[in-house]
Symmetry: D2
Subunit: 281 residues, 4 copies
């Protein structure tokens, strides 16, 4: 054909760097050698926990032990929340059609919209807005009051606060306790605690009960650890992936295909409440 | 309208269990109490590694320490493989359009097709076919020879063997070494080693070089740990998720939007090769 | 770093065609000129129906008018099936989280598993298996009996037959009627009608009622039109996409976010039954 | 176990409507009767084009013939754009792994991010912002100048304008021509033409060349037809779906699995440029 194809046009429209190549700094691959951020992956195996390795990949350096322990706790915190989140239901609805497990999981991930999971990133941005006020001269308390006021004025619950079921989210409480014990509390955690106090004052004056939730705790701790906003949601995503897998797998093991899944019509028939053995410190 | 809706029809077509509800055994949710397989999640946080918690959720019980360590190594093994796997490229192509990070990751997961990642499940089924022969009276060596023969006859590489880049996959080597050290070798690992030897004999007789790969090692070890076939792929998926996240995030940090991504045209410009500090045993 | 990157390794492992480029025969793009299968897209606009253009893109040539009309009918047939299919529920569960519309739709598409939508491709393969028998000397009736027998023996309903709600699928009936009117009936339609008769004989002898369904009709007609097996499912997918869009959009217009969606608990409150105006022949 | 499950908590938190059910107005399903917006689907088949049926489903009423013809043209306009859009590359990267066709397509859809496809919705919102100015007393020209100024000030190209390859998008030209011929031009089309003129004036004064593109034309026409913002993107999505299907299918027909797909390294080898036969008015 007479007319040229897109190839030459595009080549012109993408000027190249001096050596003509784009760059990656994550992993280098050569025959029989895989280096993640410079470390041979086979040397990492058996020596680093998965959480340590995730930190290395995302942040570029090995985490100090306290951060490794904190990140393990963050990843455990959102592992699963039963059958009722929309992400779990999306995964189960795909599972009932006989689709591959990966498809069930991908559908579940797509359900991490602004109202579900996406709150981590919103809360990180919200806290950074407050810290800008602090750097501009406000006290933590003043910044917290202004942040809350901004939400109240437009009738919104601050991101990272409020929960459909829990009046006191046990995961948030535990994350803040660990951050303190491991001496990892930073300015984002301090600010979110100040927002908590501001909301409590409003509640005492007749306002609604809006406790900090696990998204808020993950947001504040991830930000203090230096994760980019976009990676805050990603940490929730890594944490919840096994939950999506477990539900898609259970759906197929215990139910007929092509069933209609009513989220309110189930019972839990698993292990009764139990405590971790003493050995697990 | 005169005609009824689907509701009544369907209600009739789905007879209910005695108490009229479907069941889940994974997680129970009550106000301020989240129990995963019976354990309060806040008690798990700070005490269990993420890998331990994943095992608990998927298998129903806490792993013994050796299994927890093995699973951490398995999850580290496939964390990332640079920019060239199709899953990474799918994720980067979605990232360049400005789509949310979760969308990039979901697209990457969809690329875990039969030729990529899906090999774990195929290999688990393949090994179980061999173990059926063993239970029928064959020796490991005989079963391995028959399994290899079945593939060679139809011109296929056995699932879990061969690699586009590596002539000796360092991740497989390390996983088998750890399985031995941790005394977790079972019949699936023994069989896959027997298949390796059968393939080496064929190579010495002029056949191709088809080393065991990381998918094969994950398959054998996961099967020995008791994971269902479907969950073998899931373990690869959990392992690789941070890699998809890291690439989608790096794509946006270092490149203009709507660029055309040529997988062969990049350079690695990250950390030089380095060793883990002594402290990390 | 001393070790090379993947680039050179891969370049070697992918020998190139003589001119060093891979090929596409679908669409050529030059500045201000988009040719689909050779036709300028701006010339197609206003002259071809969408269904005609889809046929051109997938098959390479313009459809004769009868085929264009048939394909329009096929695409209309599966436009929507109310709120209860798992694909619709997956889309609605993603919609309730505030995720972008495209994410809702992608999740719905992932639910087109083997038991839902995927049946078109299975049925096309099933019919082609029967036609191989016919070419081997069987009559249509003999081939149909053998195909049914194969399914009955393993306790399966033949692909393209049976429906959860409908005892006589009005879409299948209408598609076969149109294929006859438009003189497009081919050997696949003849075979599926023979299978219908074989199943009716079994029903009269006490067997279950398993009417041909819309998937079966689409499969037979698509195969007669020359579509590849993989494209059979694709036609269902194009047909249902607007349904997924409509449900995701309605979910957000009419319901609060983060609701729990019970598929059995709804009512239809739309337009009452009505007839097309005479003008629409 | 002593603690209750989520069921009762949730039931309380979702007060029901008087009849205790949620509503849908799209499609009603009864045994052997499928009514889309009140019309029996089997009556629609053979009488309505797919585009007509899509309009009915999304908008609730049958389109007048001119609108049906316009919508067919809109759906044809974005059918395919060759191998270089990131959505196509995402679909091909999934296809090369052997994943199901629906997975390839879903990954492609996920790539319709803000910079690709998502522009339709942005442009609809942009135009509606301008029409608010008009209703507040501005002339079309004044509103257009203000809208352009808003973008120029922050260094952005107005949504719906500019193209990587085309200096004059033939699809936009044709869509506006059809809107005029079919007497469907409304205030959104008038405003976008006014923005075009404002940009031309700036170009003549030394500004860049930013022609209206197909996204802009779809946005203006969809808005004039009354589609909600969210549905503007959806129309692009319906239009491009067959393109994603065609590329995923071609990828597998013509290339080896697990290849590395370089978007700049291809040639078109399909039909040479040709004209529609006279018969197709």
């Amino acid at each position: 054909m007479a007319r040229g194809t897109v190839t030459d046009v595009e080549r012109r429209s993408h000027p190249r760097t001096p050596d003509g190549r784009w760059k990656t700094a994550l992993t280098s691959i050569a025959p029989n050698a895989i280096l993640i951020r410079g470390y041979p992956v086979d040397e990492m195996m058996g020596r680093l926990s998965f959480a340590d390795a995730v930190y290395l990949l995302l942040m570029g350096e090995l985490p100090p032990p306290a951060i490794g322990r904190m990140l393990n706790a963050v990843l455990v915190s959102s592992l699963d929340h039963g059958v009722t989140p929309p992400s779990t239901l999306a995964a189960r609805n795909v599972a009932t059609t006989g689709a591959p497990l990966k498809d069930c999981v991908a559908a579940g991930i797509l359900a991490f919209g602004p109202h579900h999971g996406g709150d981590v990133e919103s809360c990180m941005r919200y806290l950074d807005r407050g810290l800008t006020m602090v750097r501009g001269g406000d006290s933590l308390k003043q910044a917290a009051e202004k942040l809350v006021e901004d939400c109240v004025r437009v009738g919104q619950t601050p991101p990272g606060f409020g929960h459909r079921f829990h009046t006191r989210d046990p995961r948030a409480t535990r994350l803040f306790q660990l951050a303190m014990e491991l001496e990892l509390e930073g300015e984002h955690v301090q600010l979110i605690r100040a927002i908590e106090r501001a909301l409590t004052r409003r509640e005492q004056a007749g306002g609604p009960h809006t406790p900090v939730n696990v998204d808020g705790a993950i947001a504040a701790i991830s930000a203090d650890l230096g994760f980019a906003h976009e990676l805050g949601n990603a940490i929730f995503l890594i944490s919840r992936l096994p939950g999506l897998i477990a539900h898609a797998h259970e759906e197929r093991l215990r139910n007929p295909p092509m069933r209609q899944i009513d989220p309110k019509d189930h019972n839990y028939d698993g292990a009764a409440e139990r405590r971790l053995p003493e050995g697990r410190k």
